[in-house]
Amino acid sequence: MVPNLPTDELNNPEQPNLPTDSLSPETQRESEAVEYNENRLDKSGIQAFLFLSPTLVIVLTFIVFPIFFSFYLSFHEWNMFSTNQKFVGLENYIRLLSDPEFWQVLKNTLIYTIGTVPVNMAFSLAVAYALLQKIKGRKLLRTMFFAPVIISPVAAAVIWRWLYDPNYGLVNYSLNIFGIDPINWLKHPQGAMAALIIVGIWKYFGINMVLFSAGLQAIPEHYYEAAEIDGAGRFAKFWNITLPLLAPTTFFILIMSMITSIQVFDLVYVLTSGGPLGSTEVLVVYLYDHAFKFFNMGYASAVAYVMFAILIVLTLVQVKYMKSKVYKAI
């Protein structure tokens, strides 16, 4: 350490002073560093603006502006090619709510959500719980269960189309072993939805398993030890300790899975394209068709906003309930 000479201190006011009696060296250095930063480096926000500008430009153009513009569009009739965006008031919303097809689409989305979410959660909790026991090759198992999550929904849907093939598919072949007659899964209204639900469960259950595993590991071991001393069995421990302490995780996963299910698109588009007879036409497929096949930009925007209304309720519940937990996780 070179001691600071008085002249140096005068020429370089940013140089740290020698510690005084009143302040500890640490506090002194900290407070001075802050002063230094603000005075010399920040140049009244210009620097901050430079750091933020690329992100701001993208977020403003592709998120903030679109939010307002699609709201505006939802009150207009517009095919995108004409210059005239005709104001129609609430007509798009009225048309939408009085259209039986839209209600069918909502119903399909609901069936898919109810079909996938609870089964997925029960299944993934069971697997996450089992993986906590003494098991060999846990890492390999986790990777195997997680594999469907990472591959693209398009590739997954292509594979399953082949598995569901009425004549050569592995699904019917396996069912045949149990004496069940072949089903033309994707061409049958109920079969197509069932097929879709199976793929949906298979595709996303790895995510829930990872989240459940994290939740289970966060439960302190000594609760179980105490329960054992009291003579609790495996089931009693699971019912009285695991489940209640896992409630926040379970709630988080429930809402998150519902949001994901309501937004399903790729799987449906590649597996069934919404058919047969519209039996698997879900919200986003309907939205996509109206916007980019029929170019009813106003009507499609109204659909988007109805969807937004549904999703924002779920999201706000999630954010409100989970705020502390999410921050803690990070």
Partner: protein
């Protein structure tokens, strides 16, 4: 003895389930090297009688899969690099700089994470249309170049880096950019890796956006190529399966190297699909 039996049962059950989960993949890989006659044989055979690796060559000849592949990788890598740069800059501003309205702006950023993409999809398409970028690389790349999620993730990590380290650098005459580049970035590698893996997989697997903004075949990404492929070659399952394996491979490799980062990303994203 009872314990032992239970443990064996548990192993059988869980490995059985795991095998069922990856059976579709195994089936895909095995089908991709079978000849068409064997694919359509009943009962289905598990192990190929003969390995037909030329299915891959044929798939790449039947559709310009090489081109699709290049498009996907180019877009995914560009978006990933871009997002690492823009998000770390924005995250640094939110974590360390003091400016008027910082906290309000940050909460507005957070709020945009709650917006489902379906709401912004149509106007984003229109913006690209007005810019004349439909059916081009910028349409696939530019909207992904920054994200509120990435900014949020990095900001939370940057906050945990001790400030003393930076202060020492300032005293040595380092600028803000210098500190970000030389001190924060090297220390934030785990967070950057999480963001990189997450972004890469998201973009590589993206389907709906490519479907909306692309028209001409030479611009197709692998996912779009595969989806179009399945309509055009409904009986060419050997080629379709070879294509599916090809579309899955980069992701499996990325996942293999970045598993823990990816899983961290899942836990962090919460709200994202």
């Amino acid at each position: 003895m009872m314990e032992r039996l239970k443990s064996v049962m548990l192993h059988i059950l869980i490995y059985g389930l795991a095998l069922m989960t990856i059976a579709p993949f195994l089936w895909m890989v095995l089908t991709s090297v079978k000849d068409l006659g064997e694919i359509f044989s009943y009962p289905p055979t598990w192990w190929p009688e003969e390995f037909h690796f030329e299915n891959y060559k044929n798939a790449f000849e039947a559709a310009p899969f090489g081109r699709f592949y290049f498009n996907s990788l180019f877009v995914a890598i560009t978006v990933t690099v871009g997002q690492l740069i823009t998000c770390s800059m924005a995250a640094y501003a939110f974590a360390r700089l003091k400016f008027w309205g910082r906290d309000v702006l940050f909460y507005l950023f957070l709020a945009t994470m709650m917006i489902p993409y379906q709401v912004t999809m149509i106007p984003s398409f229109l913006v690209l249309h007005w810019l004349g970028w439909i059916d081009s690389y910028p349409a696939l790349i530019v909207p992904g170049l920054a994200s509120a999620f990435g900014t949020f993730l990095l900001r939370q990590f940057f906050m945990t880096i001790p400030k003393d380290l930076e202060d020492a650098a300032y005293l040595d005459g380092c600028s803000r950019f210098g500190v970000l580049w030389r001190i924060i970035i090297p220390l934030a590698k785990p967070a950057l890796a999480t963001l990189a893996i997450f972004t890469f997989m998201g973009v590589f697997n993206d389907f709906i956006w490519a479907l909306i903004v692309l028209n001409s075949e030479e611009m197709y990404t692998v996912q779009l190529g595969l989806a179009i492929f399945r309509d055009r070659y409904t009986t060419q399952w050997d080629l379709l399966m070879a294509g599916s394996v090809t579309a899955t491979l980069p992701i499996l490799i990325a996942f293999f190297f970045g598993q823990k980062y990816f899983i961290k990303g899942i836990a962090l994203s919460g709200l994202k699909e």
